[in-house]
């Protein structure tokens, strides 16, 4: 049996964090941490060493894209961005594994995780 994916999620809306956490649990993943801004996300990743990050873009203190850039330099943790804004420039997308436009459904989320974690499901 495969080890469940350890995921950190970041979104400044608690309802969305909670929804993603429950949904990822249903998919057999383990949410090992939740952050409400980019800075906390980086700290969480340093502490938990997750397999994957799912993050919003616009958050206080530091955006999800900025956090993804920092993470890309420090580690190889793939980052999936889920945003209510349109896809950022290609330059910014170089640091992320996938981009999903809100509202994203379970099918799209599953496909993105599969792509980012090389056939996790």
């Amino acid at each position: 049996m495969k080890r469940s994916l350890r995921i950190v999620i970041a979104d400044d809306e608690a309802d969305i964090r909670q929804g993603f956490r429950r949904l990822l649990c249903k998919l057999g993943c383990e949410v090992v941490g939740e952050a409400e801004n980019g800075r906390d996300l980086i700290a969480l990743c340093a502490a938990e060493r997750p397999d994957l990050v799912i993050t919003d873009v616009r958050m206080p203190e530091m955006s999800g894209i900025e956090a993804a850039k920092v993470l890309a330099k420090a580690s190889a943790i793939p980052v999936i961005v889920v945003s209510s804004y349109e896809r950022p420039d290609d330059e910014d997308c170089a640091f992320i594994a996938d981009f999903l436009l809100k509202p994203t459904c379970i099918t799209e989320l599953r496909a993105a995780i599969n792509k980012a974690c090389d056939g996790a499901f």
């Binding site: 969305i16 929804g19 993603f20 429950r22 949904l23 249903k26 209510s84 809100k102």
Partner: protein, 535 residues
């Protein structure tokens, strides 16, 4: 020496000669010379001369004389009339005949005697030439080389010659004035770019200006004598104008009427016309006059201006709506995400086929509708940044058709492609053009009863140096109702019970963003949309 009767006859013949010259249209100079000539012929011992008043300088100018010596002519020319200014100068000043029997002694010639003396002139009778208005036009003078006084017949002669001269001068001046006015009028008539037409009371053309020839493309000879009805594009306008303007009791109207006109080639144009009744001095109607101005360019400019204004208003509306949509986009997507994730989680917890699962499905559909509406608003009002790539258009519309599977599932529906060897490769934003086809297909599926046949036909065309792909999407439905045809691309206008009415407005916006065009065809059966896309 002629007797009285011969002299009278000679005078009459002379006067007739003068009148003939006048009738022949001779110049004033020629007529006055003839006048002096006939006077001198009937009285060979007399030297005649005519002087004319020059209004600008107020001087007398020598106008005609055959036998006065040059030095004398020079000396009398440009003399200012006065109360004691020789015979002619005094006659012109007083307006009365002056008879100087002996220049050498007469006080009127005091100070001027040496020149006539030098010319051997001793007597000079001068008759003022007076116009019908009473104005002194000049003088007629009879000189003799010996002192002498006139007899009654000579006085009558000088008087009749002066009358004849007055007649000639007035006639020639009137003629000149008429000719000047005609020249001015001709310049105006031929100089204006508008068409000027005159007709008789029967509305048959009597004058067709150069402007009219240019405007209507007829030579004047082709239309003179013909009814103006040949110039009207619509017979009813010709009849309407008879009621409104071209009848003898018509009131004077200065406002212009717009009329559709027809050129010789058959082409029509909009012209603005003013027209009125031509009347003589006694107010009797003689015919009609019409001035027509081609306002095609003005109409075109007005249409462009209106279109620009509409576009500006539309752009402002779009910008305002874009701001609004952008402002709510983030929050509404987050809200939709909360709903979505809630649905996805509950789907694991709620039993299939339960009432709760049906409730959940209703929530899902409501969320989808909300999202669709939100996406449409964004497509219509949001900024368009095309994400272009090289694509085969057939693949794009096939994908759109496949995505509508739910709509045509279970129905007798067929998508027919008529593309033969057409080159379908274009640079386009696949996502947006797919949405154009999706909107067109959705409309056809909604409007047509089974069996539904939707045909996509393509061809290539060259527009100058630009190669275009032309695409027709046609269905076998009832076609577009007349009231919808002109408004089909208007935002928020729909004949469907549901929907935002943005589908075709979005399609037009996307196609325009690709520098293409989309329009409804006049196909009699079903609805047909024609698109062009640059290749």
């Amino acid at each position: 020496m002629m007797n009285e009767r011969d002299l009278l006859e000679s005078d009459l013949r002379g006067q007739t000669r003068v009148l003939k010259r006048l009738a022949q249209g001779a110049s004033l100079d020629e007529v006055l010379h003839t006048l002096v000539e006939v006077a001198e012929e009937s009285r060979p011992d007399m030297i005649g001369s005519v002087m004319l008043m020059e209004a600008e300088s107020g001087t007398l100018r020598l106008a005609a004389s055959r036998r006065l010596p040059d030095f004398y002519r020079t000396s009398v020319d440009r003399r200012i009339p006065g109360p004691r200014c020789g015979s002619c100068g005094t006659a012109a000043f007083t307006g009365k005949r002056v008879v100087v029997e002996d220049i050498a002694t007469d006080p009127l010639w005091h100070g001027f005697r040496d020149i006539p003396e030098q010319a051997s002139l001793r007597a000079c009778w001068s008759e003022p030439i007076i116009a019908s208005t009473g104005e002194v036009l000049g003088t007629f003078a009879m000189y003799y080389s010996v002192p002498r006084s006139p007899c009654a017949s000579e006085l009558e002669f000088v008087s009749s010659i002066a009358s004849l001269a007055a007649l000639a001068i007035e006639r020639v001046r009137y003629q000149s004035e008429v000719e000047r006015e005609r020249a001015v009028l001709k310049t105006i008539v031929n100089g204006i770019p508008d068409a000027l037409l005159m007709t008789g009371l029967d509305r048959n053309i009597t004058h067709f200006s150069r402007g009219a020839c240019r405007m209507f493309q007829y030579d004047a000879d082709e239309v003179l004598g013909k009814s103006t009805s040949i110039l009207y594009a619509d017979r009813s306008d010709f009849e309407r104008m008879a009621e409104e303007r071209f009848h003898i009791a018509a009131d004077e109207k200065f406002e212009a009427t717009e009329v559709q006109w027809r050129r010789k080639s058959g082409a029509t144009f909009v012209g603005e016309m003013v027209g009125k009744v031509i009347r003589d001095e006694r107010d009797h109607p003689l015919g009609f006059l019409a001035l027509i101005r081609d306002i095609t360019d003005r109409k075109r400019a007005e249409a462009c201006l209106a279109e620009s204004r509409d576009k500006l208003v539309q752009a402002e509306r779009l910008a305002a709506m874009g701001k609004m949509v952008s402002a709510i986009a983030h929050e509404s997507r987050n809200a939709l995400q909360r709903i979505q994730v809630g649905i996805d989680v509950l789907e694991y917890d709620i039993e299939p086929d339960s009432e709760a699962r049906e409730d959940l499905n209703r929530i899902r559909r409501a969320k989808s509708d909300l999202q669709h509406m939100h996406d449409e608003l964004r497509s219509f009002a949001g900024p368009i940044q095309l994400d272009s790539s090289t694509a085969n258009l057939a693949e794009v519309w096939r994908q759109a058709w496949t995505n509508l599977h739910v709509l045509h599932q279970g129905r007798d529906v067929q998508l027919i492609e008529a593309i033969d060897d057409v080159d379908l490769v274009c640079e386009l934003d696949v996502f947006r053009i797919e949405q154009v086809f999706r909107n067109l297909f959705e409309n056809s599926l909604a409007a047509c009863a089974d069996p539904v046949r939707i045909t996509v036909a393509c061809s290539n065309r060259n527009d100058g140096e630009q190669r275009m792909l032309c695409v027709s999407v046609r269905d076998n439905g009832p076609g577009l109702p007349e009231e919808l045809r002109s408004r089909v691309f208007e935002a928020f206008y729909t004949t469907k019970a549901k929907g935002t009415g943005l589908g075709m407005a979005i399609a037009e916006r996307f196609i325009t963003a690709h520098r293409g065009t989309i329009e409804i065809s006049d196909h009699p059966d079903g609805a047909e949309f024609l698109m062009t896309l640059p290749q």
